[in-house]
């Protein structure tokens, strides 16, 4: 009869909120170019690794918007281009891939 309590607990604790993930996808497409988008987890997504190249002028706003999501995340930011900065690679990890 239905899921065990521990299964439900794990689903609650680790499943990423789809609405929040959609928000991140929209933001990523709006502020830059998505280079990698790898969701993990079966049957529900419990982790996501993504790389996005963002316009340098939009990075601040992009991070601000990320802060407003209710997801736990880790990000790395790498400047791209020589000699002038022509993009910022934002490497993001959400959920179960978060260390």
């Amino acid at each position: 009869m239905g899921k065990s309590g521990s299964e439900k607990l794990f689903t609650k604790a680790f499943t990423l909120d789809n609405a929040q993930l959609e928000k991140v996808a929209h933001m990523s497409a709006e502020y830059g170019e998505i280079k990698r988008w790898c969701p993990y987890g079966q049957p529900s997504i419990d982790g996501l690794c993504a790389k996005v190249i963002v316009n340098p002028k939009a990075v601040g706003r992009f991070i601000d918007d990320l802060l407003l999501t209710e997801l736990e995340w880790d990000i790395g930011v790498f400047p791209l281009g020589k000699p002038g900065l022509d993009g910022v690679l934002v490497d993001m990890q959400f959920g179960a891939t978060h260390h």
């Binding site: 239905g2 065990s4 309590g5 521990s6 607990l9």
Partner: protein, 341 residues
């Protein structure tokens, strides 16, 4: 036997407990009730019988009386019984469904109880479903406010099933918000009404193991605000501290106090005195208070019943160890009940 005896010490100390079920009368018919208690039940143990029992129990080394039921707040002599226990130097606890905690009833308990344990089986909907009573949670919620104002120390008891571990964090937060000092996590016993209507919902080893881990997290989160007790035993303890579980106390003579040999001791509503747990197989009962006082039963049991129960302990320990590779925790009293059946 619990997984964190050292933490329980803060509330109950090193206790020798008699658990008295003076009635099966109850205002509810909970689905998980191990004693099939309900509003139609009328059996009540007479006060003089229990007074004599307490006298003998104290002489045999027991120092805590826990009242359960049925609903102990419906036992007509609850105040006198608690007074009697305290007058004999025993500490007192009671377990209630929490729906009858009116100001009048709680006022009667002030100064008579060292701890009141109140059942809470999950979020409001789940609680009401388990209690088979819409509105049971609302009454509990109101009752806890009355209890908090009274100053009686209290805790919540959460019955763990195969399907409700995910509600435990909510119950822990609720406990702290309401000022409870203890959260006891007790695995469902598939006896009584639970055997009929909750078949297959006893938590398996996986749920027990996760309950163990979750209890650890809750302790870390709330620290000294909430003592968390899980009524399960880590398999590691079964292996490493086997004497604690199978100890025959052979070094103790027959005139050793009963409490050194057998704890907890249970009095059921028909007067039967059994070891360890309500509903323990009657083949191991010490006797019935309506036929003989505890003092007399104890003498007889030390001579005739002690070895049989030691054999049950050994069988239970072997059985629990055999499954310990598969499950990280065991329900020790359940294992003993199975071994005794």
């Amino acid at each position: 036997m619990t997984t964190n005896d050292e933490q329980c010490v803060t509330l109950t100390g090193h206790s020798r407990i008699v658990q008295v079920h003076p009635t099966r009368r109850c205002n509810l018919m909970c689905r998980h009730c191990y004693s099939k208690s309900g509003p139609k039940e009328r059996d009540v143990l007479e006060l003089p019988l229990l007074r004599t029992f307490l006298r003998d129990a104290r002489a045999e080394g027991y120092d805590v009386m826990g009242l359960s039921g049925g609903e102990p707040l419906l036992y007509p002599h609850i105040g006198e019984l608690l007074d009697d226990a305290r007058a004999r130097g025993m500490r007192t606890t009671a377990t209630t469904n929490g729906t009858l905690l009116t100001e009048e009833r709680v006022a009667e308990l002030v100064g008579r109880l060292d701890l009141l344990a109140v059942s809470c089986d999950g979020v409001p909907d789940s609680h009401d479903r388990m209690r088979a009573s819409p509105g049971a949670f609302a009454k509990l919620d109101t009752g806890l406010e009355v209890l908090r104002d009274s100053g009686i120390p209290y805790g919540l008891i959460f019955t763990l099933t195969q399907h409700n571990l995910d509600e435990l964090p909510w119950v822990a937060e609720f406990a702290v918000r309401k000022g409870a000092r203890l959260l006891q996590i007790h695995p469902l016993e598939e006896t009584g009404r639970a055997e009929e209507v909750l078949e297959g919902q006893r938590p398996d080893g996986t749920e027990g193991g996760y309950a163990f881990l979750l209890a650890h997290e809750i302790r870390k989160r709330f620290g000294s605000d909430l003592v968390v007790q899980v009524d399960l035993v880590a398999s590691r303890h079964l292996r490493e501290q086997s004497e604690r579980f199978v100890g025959s106390h052979a070094e103790l003579h027959d005139d050793a106090p009963l409490a050194e040999l057998l704890e907890p001791l249970i009095v059921e509503p028909d007067g039967a005195v059994v070891p360890f747990q309500y509903g323990f197989p009657r083949a191991h009962a010490l006797g019935n208070l309506r036929r003989a006082p505890l003092a007399q039963m104890a003498v007889h049991w030390k001579l005739k019943g002690r070895d049989a129960l030691a054999a049950v302990r050994r069988r239970a320990h072997r059985g629990a160890l055999a499954s310990s590779d598969e499950t990280p925790v065991s329900n020790w009293y359940e294992a003993m009940r199975r071994a005794a059946s």
